[in-house]
Every structure is written in structure tokens, then in C-alpha cells.
Symmetry: C2
Subunit: 376 residues, 2 copies
């Protein structure tokens, strides 16, 4: 079984072109992970994801733990085999879902108690428990249980969350190491930095988490409502404390312009529901920016969603057709729109990687944004 590793193959200013190796294969970075919440990227098949060029997808621990349950996934050979994807996967820690839930019952220094959105049953997540769930689910990369605070958060809450995130990272890592000694899996456990929008807390959290020596680091608690400037400031003040020889993952980001910004700071991995969730509401991403294709103005438009896109949806279907299908509540509309936007994001990442390889990331970023900010 291949061991987890990260190799940075090109650097262009701070932007990095790397390769993450996992038990299920290699991932070229910078990489965008489509979100497969319950074990499928909504409205996509594994074949669709492959043909878009996705190399890794994300599963949500909170959802998979509740349904179908980590024991069933383990029995079925782990998440990659269960889902038919059979390629690299990552699971989040469930923290983001639990702490943003209406049904959060109790949070203390040891963990969090919450109600299932399915049946109201009560459940508790704590660091060791989350590690066990994630090991059973069996993704290639798993995340430490962290406390993510909403935006804005007062300093006291942010500070408490940083302390808990550190404590939980240690507890989780100890438990992970113990289990992995008994039963090696090849799974890599990443640490998560918190600190809300406080520069000193971000520095403290980064130093604490990095001191634990994880094989990869995530910047958490961003893209939760703060401005783009705050996001950039917090990313900048955090990433300087993350080691260069480990992959860096900016969680829950984001818009194409955010990804380009973050790559320029040296981020390697991203995930976000935007391309898929927005597609299901009638909006896709294009080289000229977002396109609300459900709108009446496209009723007679026989052009593709994105004239510059070479995906199979843009090569075959018109805006007029997709608008009609969307407004008739046809599942096919969601399938096609999701495919295009997922392809668009993967294509963006291909462009980013190529440009770093030839030392022209800044030019790529400038040219992409010149088109993207034009509007449809």
C-alpha cells in the first residue's frame, strides 16, 4: 500500500504545484475536491467525476456517521470501495456540521452533543470517537475534530475554540497513533488551525497544531461569512506558520477568485459545495462569471452555458434547453448543470497547475479574472 506523502514539484512565487500520494492513488495539487456529502457528489456519478478530471472527493463524516453508518461502510470495504469511486477521498471531522447545527445540544471541553437531523436521536462527538468513525469510514485523509466558531465570534469564544481545537487535536492524534500501531491503514490525519479573525489567535493555533507534527494542515473557520479581505488577511497570517513540506488545505473555499487568491499564498487543497449546490438552484460558473441560466433572458438563447468551455454539456446543450429543463423540474437539468460547474472548477485547477509549472501563475490569474469579472 502506498504511504501518504507530499511532494512539491514546482514553485512560482508562493504558488505550489505538488503531488499528494495516498493509498488510493495520487492527487495533483492545487486540487479542488468536489463534496460528496453522503457518499455521492449530488447529481453526479463516479464516471462523471472522472471525466471532469476530479482526483479526490470529500465525504462528510457527520452525514456518513448517521447514514448509512461507519460500520456499514467499513463492512463494505471502506468509503472508496462502497461508493464505487475507488480513488482518493478525504473526510472532514464533522465539526463544521455539528457546530453550525440548529440542533446542537451541548458543547463542553470534552466534545459536543447533538441531535440527528433524521430522527432527533442524541449523539456525541469527541476527538477519539471522531477518529474511530473516520477510520471506519476509511478515507485516505481524515481531519482532526475541531471547534469551528461562527462569524463574527467574540474573542473569548474564539480563544476557547482555539484551546479546545488544540486539546482535541492532541487527543485525536494520540488515539489515531495507538489504533494505527495496532492496525495500520495508510490513512493520514491532518490538523486544523482555528482562530476566527484574530491574528494572534491564528498564530497561536497554527503554532500549537504544527507542534503536533501532522502530515498535512488545514486552515479552518474561514469562508463562514467574513469579507474577502478578512479571509485573505487570516489566510496570510496563518499560512506563514505552516511548514512548506506539508500539504495545506483551505477548508470550504470557494469561489474561483478565492481559490486563485489562496493558491497565490501557497494553498494546495480546496473543497466547496458551491459548484454543485448552486447548479441545483439554476446557477453555473462560466469563464465570464456566474450565469443564472434559469432566468427568462435565456429562454431563446441557443448558445452553450459557457462558449469557452469544452465540457460535454457545453458541446451539446443550449442555455434555452437547460433553462426549460430546469423550470420543468427535470432532474436532467441538475445533472447537466452540476456536470458543467464541476468541470469548470476542475478545469480552473488544471489551468492553475499548468501555469505554475511554467512559472506563469500570476499571468494566468490576471487573465482568468479579466474574463471572469466581465459578467455574462
Amino acid at each position: 500500500m502506498p504511504q501518504f506523502s507530499f511532494e512539491s514539484v514546482n514553485i512560482d512565487s508562493n504558488a505550489r504545484r505538488g503531488v499528494v500520494t495516498t493509498p488510493h492513488g495520487k492527487v495533483n495539487t492545487p486540487s479542488f475536491m468536489p463534496v460528496g456529502t453522503s457518499g455521492a457528489v449530488k447529481a453526479m456519478t463516479a464516471e462523471d467525476l472522472e471525466s471532469c478530471g476530479a482526483e479526490i472527493i470529500l465525504g462528510n463524516t457527520y452525514h456518513l456517521y448517521l447514514r448509512p453508518g461507519e460500520k456499514l461502510i467499513k463492512e463494505q470495504g471502506g468509503l472508496a470501495r462502497f461508493t464505487g469511486w475507488n480513488k482518493p477521498m478525504l473526510t472532514d471531522s464533522g465539526g463544521f456540521q455539528v457546530f453550525s447545527m440548529q440542533e446542537l445540544l451541548k458543547i463542553d471541553d470534552e466534545g459536543a452533543t447533538f441531535k440527528s437531523h433524521h430522527d432527533g436521536s442524541s449523539h456525541r462527538f469527541y476527538p477519539e470517537k471522531v477518529i474511530e468513525i473516520e477510520r471506519d469510514i476509511g478515507a485516505d485523509i481524515i481531519m482532526s475534530f475541531d471547534q469551528c466558531v461562527p462569524y463574527p465570534a467574540d474573542r473569548e469564544l474564539a480563544s476557547t475554540a482555539v484551546a479546545r481545537t488544540y486539546d482535541w487535536a492532541q487527543k485525536g492524534q494520540n488515539h489515531f497513533n495507538k489504533l494505527d500501531e495496532e492496525n495500520p491503514t495508510g490513512i493520514a490525519l491532518f490538523g486544523i488551525v482555528q482562530g476566527s479573525t484574530y491574528t494572534d489567535l491564528r498564530k497561536l493555533s497554527a503554532e500549537q497544531i504544527v507542534s503536533l507534527d501532522f502530515p498535512g494542515y488545514a486552515v479552518g473557520g474561514l469562508a463562514v461569512g467574513e469579507s474577502k479581505k478578512e479571509m485573505e488577511d487570516m489566510l496570510g497570517c496563518t499560512i506563514q506558520f505552516l511548514p512548506e513540506d506539508k500539504p495545506r488545505y483551505l477548508m470550504g473555499v470557494g469561489y474561483p477568485e478565492d481559490i486563485l487568491m489562496a493558491v497565490s499564498y501557497g494553498v494546495d487543497m480546496f473543497d466547496c459545495v458551491l459548484p454543485t449546490r448552486n447548479a441545483r438552484t439554476g446557477m453555473v460558473f462560466t469563464s465570464k462569471g456566474p450565469l443564472v441560466f434559469r432566468n427568462a433572458e435565456y429562454a431563446h438563447d441557443d448558445g452553450p452555458l459557457d462558449p469557452e468551455c469544452d465540457c460535454r454539456v457545453c458541446r451539446r446543450y443550449s442555455r434555452a434547453y437547460l433553462r426549460h429543463l430546469y423550470n420543468q423540474h427535470e432532474i436532467t437539468a441538475l445533472v447537466l448543470a452540476t456536470y458543467h460547474s464541476t468541470y469548470f472548477f476542475q478545469n480552473l485547477m488544471r489551468g492553475i497547475r499548468s501555469s505554475i509549472e511554467i512559472g506563469e501563475f500570476d499571468l494566468f490569474k490576471k487573465e482568468f479574472l479579466a474574463g471572469y469579472l466581465q459578467g455574462n
Copy 2:
């Protein structure tokens, strides 16, 4: 532009292996048409349909007339181009939808008035109007406006419907011929035989419709609730009056066993929502019969939907995974189940065609049913 034609290339007892040529290409018969109500087969893309081996799909005139409207479809180059399918298509006459609607306001000798299920607006279908709508939609094969009666129907109602269906077929054909002389399209207009479950009315309707010399004939008003024996009896007593040199289309059928029965009588074309509609309720067709894959008994089943199927769903995904996705309301479950069942029906038709070619249709039918009736 290729003219419409039908060639019967092999005959095995009464079963026929033929080729229908249309402006958009050839269709090998016996053929099963997936139903693309509003211009898409629900939860499928045109690529999916191609890779299943579908050669022709059906659109519903009632739905397409209301949304997006036949004028928009015409402006966008006709149904095949609008939908990106670009292969043979057939539209029904809207009669079945109108006459089975809750919102049927009035039916008389001239036509039918109904309310739109979208906005309650009032609309009227009559033979000439339906021809104009279907010509604008622009499928390769279009159907005469007929009166389909529910089951059971008393003799008087059935008799009236036969008379109207004949009258409307003449009116529609006259209008079609006039328009086609002015502006030739290559479209073929089929006639429809009615007669409910009355042998003599079936004979009368068949003789009346055949006297009008259409390029193809449909048997309508079956698969509306009658028993399988009644369906077979009515098909048998109708088909003997249909000319051998024209394609025969059994509308709205059906289950695999019904298709095999009807092929043995010499039917060439079929359509039905069963494979796609049932897939969206958690049931697929397999070589061992229907499988309600959403059921709890498949929660841990790591086998494919159909171990004898070589479709890309069966080669990649387990029952346990599909059941999980279905129960989480994942669109992907509907996409995958629809794909499998559509492939299953197309594969059945491929088997039927091959068996007729080598004069072994009866053996094929017997062997298929031996497996199919076994149950999962």
C-alpha cells in the same frame, strides 16, 4: 433528407426484425422508445441514452405544447436539435394525456378542451391543431389525434371514440398533407387504432384507419388497466388487419413480458415510462425480475443490481450503495437506477432482434422468461 421508410429484414413466425428510416437516422426494430416527456428522459442525458443503445425517444405533445411551447422548439431547430439528442424522435398526439386528465373540461365531436396543469389556463386540442403543434415540435414520426377511453369503457363510449378517432385521423391527415405539400418536412404521420376491449370495434377501427393509408400504425387504448389476457386478445384481433409492410407500434407497453408477447404478434415499436418512472421509486428491472432495491434487505448486499447485466452501473455500484443513496434522497440514485433499467430494456430489445435474425425468437423468449419469472 432521407424519406421515411420501413423495411422488414427478417421474419421469425410473426416476429419481425426491421429497420425504420427517418430524417434523423435509422431505428432497428423491434424498438423500445424511452419516454422523454418534456424533452428529456427523466434523470438521463442524451449521452446516457446513446450509451444504453436507444435509437429513438418519445416526446409528449401535451407537455411540450404547454412548456416550452411548440413555437420555441421550432425556433430552436425542432425537438431533436433543441434537446441535443439529434436522432430519431416520435411525439404522441397528446390525446392520452388530455383524456386521462382531471382537468378535462369538455369533449365533443370536434376535439377536447382542457386546463393546463401549470396555470389552469384553458386550451383546446382538435385534429388540425395537434398536427400543427406536432409539425412545429418537429419529431420524425408524429401521431394522429385520437380519443383514448379509460378501462373499462362501455360499448357506447368505445364506439363513439372509434368514430371520432376515424374522423379526426382523416381531418388530421388532410391537414398534414396540405401543410406538407406547402412545406415538406420528411415527417411521417401514423394512424392510431382504438376500440377498447371490443373485438368488433377493434376490427372496425383498424379497417377504418388502414383505409387512410398511413406510413405506420399504432395500437392505442391498451395497457390502461385491462388484464394481460385482454391486452393480448385485443392486440391479436387488431394486428391481423394491419398491413405487413408498415411499422406497427403498441403504445404505452410495457413490461418485458408484454413486449415479448407483442413481438410474437409482429409489433415493431414500443414506448413506456415503466423503466424510468419505477427507477425513481426505488425499483429496477433485472434478469430475475423486478428488484425493489430501496428495501432494507439490500442494506448489506455488495452485489450489483443485476449480476447478469454488463451496464456501467452494474459493473461499478452495489445494491447496498444504491439503497443508501436512494434512502438519502440523492439524485445520483435516481440517475444510476434509471440508467440501469433503460439499459436493461434496450438490452432486451437487442436480444429480441438478434434472436429473430437467427430464427430463434421463441427460444429467446422462453429462456428470458424462465429467468425473469424466477424473482430476485
